[in-house]
């Protein structure tokens, strides 16, 4: 293990978490209030059933929003603040889904029919059916994935597992989302024959899919990039075409993305992959003289890709040059932390 540094709490994080918890409370109270008013529950199991629905819909909406945050932040930097604390959102969603699952167990328990739940989950012939498939099993598997993700969400685990393995584990959220969609489609949607659930599922699927396709198309446009010149250097453009305190992102022939930053008359290139959590550094800005990753605020010096002391993260740098008024970058990565920035005349 290396490099675990606890990230402190800030007022912004408290506000973010406060809004999250308030949103969950409003949804649960609103859903239960309206439903109880329209169809007053007549028994304890009916009240529990209402709670199952309220927490289930809440967890599903939260999961949909969580999956939209990534592509939205790639398409528009205004969504970046929502991305910073996405992990808290995920952990809270796991807790809400956990209450949904626990309420289901309670529904069987208060009626003294817990064995029926076991029978339902172990009715093996039903696993061969489509309609009639034990949909609760799909929800349980998804909840287990959310549990693994929530329990490893802390930066301690990120440092222990290393970013690639951690990221791979957390990509399982898409598998869990698929399981949840089918869990609802084969469960609640079969029993409740109104339009609410089909619209909820269909809208969620459409929004998540479209946002990922659009954000992916933008990423592929960067990857197509500009062909390197005869000597292998990639042209970026005149110095002023790189936004001041910002970057242009290009792709090396091997697919590695390179972020070429400009801070006034200083230009430097680093890998676009943050050492913390593989975030897109090039979509960040230079703040207080340091390149700042948009995901979690990890910072690096433009001149050499090193985090400022006492931090020890280092990013690979790339050689840059000014040739006939055009900034060019050499796509061969230098060892992490190698000084490689240059000063250029801006009136060239």
């Amino acid at each position: 293990m290396s490099g675990y540094v606890a990230v402190g709490w800030s007022r912004t994080k408290y506000v973010y978490d406060g809004i999250l918890i308030a949103g969950v409370a409003i949804w649960i109270a609103g859903f239960m209030g309206v439903e109880a008013w329209l169809h007053p529950p007549k028994s304890q199991p009916e009240w529990i059933d209402l709670r199952i629905k309220a927490f289930g819909t809440c967890a599903f909406l939260m999961l949909t929003i969580i999956l939209c945050i990534g592509p939205l932040a790639r398409l528009n930097p205004r969504f970046l603040p929502v991305l910073y604390n996405r992990r808290h959102f995920g952990v809270l969603m796991f807790l809400v889904a956990g209450v949904h699952a626990w309420s289901m167990v309670e529904w069987f328990a208060v009626q003294g029919v817990l064995p029926s739940l076991v029978d339902e989950l172990t009715d093996w012939p039903n696993y061969l059916k489509f309609i009639g498939f034990p949909f609760k099993t799909l929800g349980i598997v998804a909840l287990f994935i959310f549990f693994l993700m929530a329990s490893t969400s802390h930066d301690y685990w990120l440092a222990l597992l290393r970013p690639p393995a951690w990221k791979a584990l957390h990509m399982a959220v898409y598998v869990a989302y698929g399981l949840v969609v089918i869990h609802v489609a084969l469960g609640a949607m079969q029993r409740d024959r109104g339009l609410f659930i089909p619209i909820l599922l269909g809208a969620s699927l459409a929004i998540v899919a479209i946002l990922h396709l659009v954000a992916g198309a933008r990423g592929r446009a960067i990857d197509r990039g500009t062909a390197p010149s005869a000597d292998g250097w990639i042209p970026i453009g005149p110095p002023r075409s790189i936004p001041d305190k910002g970057a242009k992102i290009v792709a090396a022939p091997g697919g590695e993305r390179i972020a070429v930053f400009r801070d006034g008359d200083e230009i430097g290139a680093i890998t676009n992959v943050c050492a913390h959590q593989n975030g897109p550094v090039g979509e960040g800005k230079i703040i207080d003289g340091l390149i700042t990753c948009p995901w979690h605020g990890y910072q690096y010096q433009l001149k050499n890709g090193c985090a400022p002391p006492p931090f020890t993260e280092k990013l690979a740098t790339y050689r840059v040059r000014l040739k006939r008024g055009i900034i060019e970058v050499n796509p061969s990565a230098l060892p992490a932390g190698t000084p490689a920035s240059i000063k250029v005349p801006l009136n060239a």
Binding site: F130, A185, M189, Q190, R193
Partner: protein
Amino acid sequence: MIWPALALAVLVGFVMALVLRPPAEPTSPPAQEQRR
């Protein structure tokens, strides 16, 4: 290729579940009984 395949499987599953779900209202008491 795994992600497009997963997305397609989920979409097909959702549409099938929607198409195959029982009608909105039971047509007769026996039909209602059968669903129980």
